[in-house]
């Protein structure tokens, strides 16, 4: 009978050991995890809520929840994905509490076709970075992503800003892979359409 080849060493993520130590009460190990992910968690929360104070609160609450529920972390997913999932839930909950926000679930934005069908076919030349300075570009990018419905903003943030894989994004949002892909397409197309107002080649530009 052929022997089943087992890999010599299965790659274990360094977080696994830190989580194990933290579970056993090692606060230094937990602090190490906080250091590794506080920026990412803060950034995710700020992208979703578009509010710095909220993002600070959410980051604290998300780490507290993670700390209290460490025993429930089974290691089936990456620790960072698990943590992001907690932060996303906290962020969406925060948006729901805001009276001004209407669409805050991951499902509500799907109905709108707005901006998902390309209408602007102008080229972006020169590149955005050549057209605007850092600070002006930052303003444009913040303003544009703010206008996106929260559900789309969240998918775009995890997949394209944080660079999670499609599968990790699905896991963090509790969505199926096809649902993530469909929202991601709409999010990207809507952003593209909105950015085009700023980045498109102006009429009367340099002639060839």
């Amino acid at each position: 009978m052929p022997a089943i080849q087992s890999p010599d060493a299965i790659e274990i993520h360094p977080d696994v050991a830190l989580v194990e130590r933290a579970k056993n009460g090692d606060t230094a190990a937990f602090e190490q995890l906080v250091r590794q992910y506080e920026r990412q968690i803060f950034r995710v929360a700020q992208h979703i809520t578009q509010n710095r104070e909220d993002a600070e609160d959410i980051a604290q609450d998300a780490f507290l929840k993670a700390y209290e529920k460490l025993d429930q972390f089974q290691g089936n997913s990456k620790f960072s994905t698990w943590l992001v999932r907690i932060a996303v839930n906290e962020s969406l909950m925060r948006l729901r509490k805001r009276k001004t926000s209407k669409t805050v679930s991951m499902d509500q934005d799907v109905q709108t076709e707005d901006g998902s069908i390309p209408r602007d076919f102008a080229e972006w030349r020169p590149n955005p970075e050549q057209l605007y300075g850092q600070s002006e570009l930052g303003d444009i990018l913040r303003k544009t992503i703010q206008g996106l419905p929260p559900g789309f903003r969240t998918v775009f943030t995890l997949r394209d800003v944080e660079n999670l894989s499609t599968e990790e994004t699905a896991e963090a949002l509790g969505l199926s892979v096809p649902a993530v892909k469909s929202r991601l397409l709409r999010a990207r197309l809507q952003l593209r359409e909105r950015l085009s107002r700023y980045f498109k080649q102006k009429d009367g530009g340099p002639k060839p």
Binding site: T27, F30, E31, V34, R35, E38, R39, F42, R43, Q46, H47, R52, E56, A59, Q60, D61, F63, L64, Y67, P118, F121, A122, E123, W124, N127, P128, E129, Q134, L137, G138, L141, R142, I145, F156, D160, V161, N163, T166, K181, L184, L185, R188, L189, L191, R192, L195, S196, F199
Partner: protein, 78 residues
């Protein structure tokens, strides 16, 4: 391949996951349809401009305050 068919493949195209039997059709469509060529290029730039620019600052003072607050909340200052 229509423009709508092309759009439905766009996400997989960026991920390099288009079914091999469809890939040639996608590539031919982009070569022949200027609108889709622009959509592909500007969508790619949309992703890269957000990926490459940190749009929210995280200054040291904020990081330290946040870190201290998180640890205090979790461990009660232990």
């Amino acid at each position: 391949m229509t423009c709508t068919d092309f759009l439905s493949q766009l996400t997989d195209y960026f991920d390099g996951q288009v079914d091999p039997t469809l890939l040639a059709e996608v590539q031919t469509h982009v070569r022949e349809c200027h609108h889709c060529e622009v959509v592909l290029d500007t969508t790619r730039k949309t992703i890269s401009v957000y990926r490459e620019h940190e749009i929210y600052e995280f200054p040291t003072e904020l990081r330290e305050r946040l870190h201290t607050a998180i640890m205090k909340k979790c461990t009660g200052g232990r």
